[in-house]
Symmetry: C2
Subunit: 348 residues, 2 copies
Amino acid sequence: MFMPVGTNATVKALDPDDLDEVGAQIILANTYHLYLRPGHDRIRRLGGLHRFMGWQRPILTDSGGFQVVSLADLRTVDHDGVTFRSHLDGSTHRLTPERSIEIQEALGADVAVAFDQPVRPHASTRAEVEEAMTRTHAWAERSLEAHRRTDQALFGIIQGGLEPDLRASSTQAIAALAFDGLCIGGLAGDETPAQRRAALDVVVPLLASDPRPRYLMGLGSPLDMLDAVDRGVDLFDSVLPARVARNGTLWVPGGKINIHNARFADDPGPVLDGCPCRLCRHFSRAYLAHLFRARELLSYRLATCHNLTFTLDFMARIRQAIAAGSFQGFARAAVAHAVPGAATRASA
Amino acid sequence: MFMPVGTNATVKALDPDDLDEVGAQIILANTYHLYLRPGHDRIRRLGGLHRFMGWQRPILTDSGGFQVVSLADLRTVDHDGVTFRSHLDGSTHRLTPERSIEIQEALGADVAVAFDQPVRPHASTRAEVEEAMTRTHAWAERSLEAHRRTDQALFGIIQGGLEPDLRASSTQAIAALAFDGLCIGGLAGDETPAQRRAALDVVVPLLASDPRPRYLMGLGSPLDMLDAVDRGVDLFDSVLPARVARNGTLWVPGGKINIHNARFADDPGPVLDGCPCRLCRHFSRAYLAHLFRARELLSYRLATCHNLTFTLDFMARIRQAIAAGSFQGFARAAVAHAVPGAATRASA
């Protein structure tokens, strides 16, 4: 399954009826963003995240660790947690494993995630990767200890960068704890596809007899997900399909189209024949091209509906192929038909 | 009836299903904007405006005259037409009555409007108002002469500013022509409500036995429309309800609320109890306040749905009161309850 990302308690440009229509079964919301604005206590007082955003299906909240590293200013990491400045107003905040769990329990998602310290594998030394991993393991135990809600699952995060021994060690350490699911962190970043495969080929065999879901955080291009499913991954999230949609890139089986291209200005056909999305049901490529040129708000919603429909339909067809025992044939055909495979990093 | 404005072949932030849901029965699209982008010939080739924007109910296109005066640069008006520079790219264009009709026939709306020369009453001398009026009358005849489509109604525009004798003269001149409806132009601008009433009290009695619809162009605040209905007007358009919505102003029977106000950040109630719109059915004031603070795209759609629902419901209740013979009582109650009455000029 792929989870669309609702950074600020909204999947950008869509409402919950749109999310139903594109086939979303679970979405991700960002703990870091919601903690800073509008605040987790406010969301708790208003009845929790589901009621707040009008979405009754499952929600997963991430730990906040990734955004602290990627967005916040002047962060200092110590044994106990992270102190950082808000990217919104410069105010100082502190997140610890206990605080992240407290925030996520207040938000009330169906799945919470243990607080971790991600690092960018390529941009980090082995010593940095190892130190962050060791800290992530200690924080995983503290997250489990702090977690109280019995109506909320808790997933742990495997780190360890691109070093096979560290990745293996982290897999064993996190899998040994009583988490409900296992996240694979520190990928979908600056690594090559081959490096990502190599990391997964360390992690997944160690989990061969483990029934818990395996969630590769931050991956969202169809071909990348196909490859990861082939290596044993179950769950994904990314802002990628929605972000490229807002820039006018529409995913189709042949790859992708840039709706700004002049040849679409007179094209009466839908972006994708037979596509059940709101854009393709009602409008031509020419109309979408016009909306983007005129910078009309409707362009973002329609393009996002299409790319999320495409992505979620692709995942549904992967599940059908697995159930039918025809995954390898499906995967070969998908690669041959060049479904969108941009390996661009795209995290909220 | 009130017509939401779809400047660029989209009512900003809404799709046609949203328009159905807010109760729109007819929308207005701007000839000037669609002529410049994406071009009327392109829309004609793509099957006309209804198919292009996916809206199957009626559409009225304005004449382009108002935008030429309010948006275009370096315009020169002569006996035959207007030469102007596009506000988009500075390119030079010429509109004449014949050209405006040709464009509107290509767009294929259900109602076209004769090309006119509006003036701002307060900012114009009597001589300027009279010259523009005389030109508008000549252009009205040329518009009628040029109009070919038998599946498209054509409305004429009464001008004459705030001078009672000119307004009366224009009413008689335009009403004498074979238009399907009569627009009242040059109001909803810089005049006071009293001046607008005085102008209507010249126009409407001269049309007392005329069965054609009377359309006051550019008016959109509920109290202003109520007042104009009381004076005999049938039809309105304005970007006002949608524009203020996108700024976070929500219309309610008590007047209006500014969702940016701090007191709404924790308000669990809907913007308006019992309102059938998408915003009020599913979301709290607190959620909308959050979306606006986070500058999320969904905020514009939800707020626009509310204000258009409010406006169109208000007009529906006016029609019901007229049908029931209780209009005066309805109007007194509406004024006492201070429905939104901002007399702000708001034209696309």
